[in-house]
């Protein structure tokens, strides 16, 4: 079975531009989460979507937005890019067992975004 796939793998943008990152979850997974990982740090939670609705948001500015489509794939959009947005952006998908919390998240290899 295919794992979580993200596109593109690498992207170079300049300050002020916007970017769209894409994620396809594992088949059957309805939850998608997005993380930002700055070099040398752990992943920071940005968004979680489940059944096409936003279920959680991390401490990121409104320049960051996301959505989930009927096929459960997802897009992360970032507007007005800043140098500090340079990072590895990870997408993860999971099953959800309400009230149990025991399902692992499965991660893609990420999109490496560089801002010049």
């Amino acid at each position: 079975d295919a794992g979580v796939t993200q596109s593109p793998t690498h992207l170079i943008k300049t300050r002020g531009q916007h970017v769209t990152l894409r994620c396809s979850p594992i088949s059957g997974h309805k939850s998608v989460s997005w993380y930002q990982q700055v070099l040398g740090q752990g992943p920071q939670f940005i968004f979680q979507y489940y059944e096409k609705e936003e279920r959680g948001r991390g401490n990121f500015p409104d320049r960051f937005s996301a959505r989930q489509f009927p096929n459960y794939s997802s897009e992360l959009n970032v507007n007005a890019l800043l140098l500090g947005d340079s990072a590895l952006y990870l997408c993860a998908s999971s099953l959800i067992n309400r009230g149990r919390g025991d399902q692992p998240q499965h991660f893609g290899d990420g999109t490496r975004l560089s801002i010049l």
């Binding site: 752990g42 309400r98 025991d102 399902q103 990420g110």
Partner: protein, 114 residues
């Protein structure tokens, strides 16, 4: 609220010697706990998970972890390190609520010397 503390930011061992990566959690209830490994420029790979079925959990690549409620710990061990184990390791707690939200530790970089 939940939080995860990885006690060592860097650990260095020699090939063939045991590995111990330490993790403590803070939670008002028994959480689900996971260890992930990340190789350079890669995503995170699940090593193992604890979900209250057994306190000693065996994972992939010879890793295992023991859940100790009295110590609120979930340390990762391996009897004999291999060069390919050099990577960054993350301890993660999952929320029973909030749609299984993940809480990450800050990570431990494992260096394996020949």
């Amino acid at each position: 609220a939940q939080s995860v503390t990885q006690l060592d930011s860097h650990v260095s061992v020699s090939e063939g010697t045991p590995v111990l990566l330490r993790c403590n959690y803070s939670s008002s209830y028994s959480p689900s706990l996971f260890w992930y490994v990340q190789h350079p420029n890669k995503g995170l790979q699940l090593l193992l998970k604890y979900t209250s079925a057994a306190t000693l959990v065996k994972g992939i690549n010879g890793f295992e972890a023991e859940f100790k409620k009295s110590e609120t710990s979930f340390h990762l061990t391996k009897p004999s390190a291999h060069m390919s184990d050099a990577a960054e390791y993350f301890c993660v707690a999952s929320s029973l609520y909030n749609f299984n939200k993940f809480y990450f530790g800050s990570g431990t970089k494992l260096n394996v010397k020949p």
